[in-house]
Amino acid sequence: MELEQRIRQTLAQVAIIANCQLTDNITDDTVLLQSGLDSLGFAMLVAQLEEDLGIDPFSQMQIAVYPSTFGEFVSIYRQALVQAS
């Protein structure tokens, strides 16, 4: 499955468990913390992706880069997967 699609799917699942109402139409420019996901939901998303993909880019980065938008978030995972392979 394409990475972005997979992240979107996990995001939707996590939002249900985290009881967060996601905004409609999340694009690359959507600011993560304004997507309806709060910090707990975001932490759950990162934890679930670690289980699904086997990586947590935020724990592995020496100097951490923090994503502001959904597009940046996906791109951090894309880079991390390339480095991990």
């Binding site: 993560l32 932490a43 934890a47 502001s68």
Partner: protein, 427 residues
């Protein structure tokens, strides 16, 4: 000296609160004196202070410290006021009270979360809470962001630091991260104290670097090296401190060398009157320079050390924190008692055993996970129903983010679920 006397004595000229209409130290003092005149019957009684806005909160604090017998600082998730305490701001007409002559300095009570979910009130001398305050010509130039309600230990520390050094403070304790950053930008904040989890969220706004921060403080959770490195790279000239505080002991210490943990040499030599030692279980013990609250007497050893029940590990001449011996989980600064969550899970039909523990999170420090033993064959339905049950009985941060269905749970030699944190459990 009371807080009010200290501010009267210091006679700071600048603004105390940064807001659309700034509030000066003089105004705060005058308002507090008026409040005392208005409610003389409160003298020597106990009040329970709730936080609504910074101006009213500080005014009440100045008026009632040294005037009332006890100040209970009410967390906003706590509905019940301690018995005999009067809720402030007043919810109804003040009952008939007779003022009594004041003799003792006020005790300030802060709530710590108890294992049953009922908070424990720990009394502190106001003077001890403000012991760490540094008042210098430089500290009076700082403009603080208050990121936590001041009814909590961390927020109160920031508020006292700002007030007693003649600095200015703006309320950033509410709203989403972008709103908080915009408040910090508007009032030109240059000093911020926050949990590592909150710092990560501030970094996620992508706008933290627009602030000219001179002092950064991390507290309330274990500070990790990558985060310290990120912040020190963004603000290379700034003072970067991570602090450890025990609400119970009412003490803390700060580490300024931008490295996680604290130097192992501190175990040999005391720091600013605070002594450190480790026991065989790797628990950190602290001996504050004053007598702790009498409720803690039974937990002191013969030398006067208090067991913080924080488990540590020495590595490369640094003492690193691993987590709480009791298994208390710290979700972004919110304490979760595993036993409390287990009780809620076990109430649900079909749940035979439950074990709640922490999973390391790169975002919030730790998250809550539960292992469940059940006789139900339909775990999908059970999972959804259990989460619903948790939503009804627990705070959001207490709800397990993952339920693992397992065939059995491992117990230790005494038959109890093992709760000892290991190196993996902390990050």
């Amino acid at each position: 000296m009371t807080l009010l006397q200290r501010l009267q004595h210091a006679d700071y000229q600048g603004p105390a609160i940064l807001a659309l209409t700034p509030v000066s130290y003089k105004q705060l003092i005058n308002n507090a004196l008026q409040l005392r005149q208005q409610y003389p019957q409160l003298q020597q009684h106990a009040v329970a202070l709730t936080f609504s806005d910074l101006d009213s909160f500080i005014t009440a604090l100045l008026a009632f410290d040294g005037w009332c017998r006890a100040l209970y600082l009410m967390p906003d998730n706590l509905a019940d006021v301690p018995s005999a305490a009067i809720r402030w701001p007043l919810a109804q007409t003040l009952p008939a009270l007779s003022p009594q002559n004041h003799t003792e300095p006020s005790l300030w009570y802060l709530a710590t979360s108890g294992t049953t979910g009922t908070p424990k009130w720990i009394g502190h001398q106001a003077g001890n809470l403000s012991r760490k305050v540094k008042a210098t010509a430089y500290s009076s130039t700082l403009r603080w962001a208050l990121c936590y309600q001041p009814v909590r230990f961390a927020g109160m520390q920031v508020l006292l630091q700002s007030l007693l050094s003649g600095a200015a403070i703006c309320d950033c304790s509410n709203g989403d991260m972008n709103y908080r950053i915009s408040q910090m930008q508007r009032y030109n904040v240059n000093a911020v104290s926050a949990t590592p989890s909150l710092w990560r969220q501030l970094l996620m706004t992508g706008q933290l670097n627009t602030l000219s921060l001179e002092q950064l403080t991390l507290g309330g959770e274990i500070a990790d090296q990558p985060l310290l490195d990120t912040l020190s790279a963004m603000f290379p000239q700034a003072k970067l401190l991570h602090i450890y505080a025990s609400t119970e002991a009412g003490v803390g210490f700060a580490v300024a060398d931008k490295q996680a943990g604290f130097p192992a040499s501190w175990l040999e030599t005391s720091q600013n009157g605070l002594s450190f030692k480790l026991d065989a279980q790797q628990h950190l013990w602290l001996k504050p320079p004053w007598e702790p609250d009498s409720s803690l007497a039974s937990r002191l050893d013969s030398e006067g050390f208090l067991n913080t029940e924080d488990v540590v590990m020495i590595q490369d001449d640094r003492v690193h924190f691993l987590g709480r011996a009791s298994g208390v989980i710290n979700v972004g600064g919110n304490k979760v008692h595993p036993e409390q969550v287990e009780q809620v899970l076990l109430q649900y039909p079909g749940v035979q055993q439950a074990k709640v523990y922490a999973k390391a999170s790169s975002v919030l420090g730790q998250l809550v996970i539960a292992d469940i033993v059940t006789d139900s064959t339909d775990t999908t339905t059970l999972q959804a129903a259990l989460l619903q049950h948790c939503v009804q009985h627990l705070q959001r941060y207490q709800i397990p983010v993952k339920l693992n269905f397992v065939s059995s749970l491992v117990t230790n030699e005494t038959g109890k679920l093992s709760r000892r944190p290991d190196a993996q459990g902390a990050s």
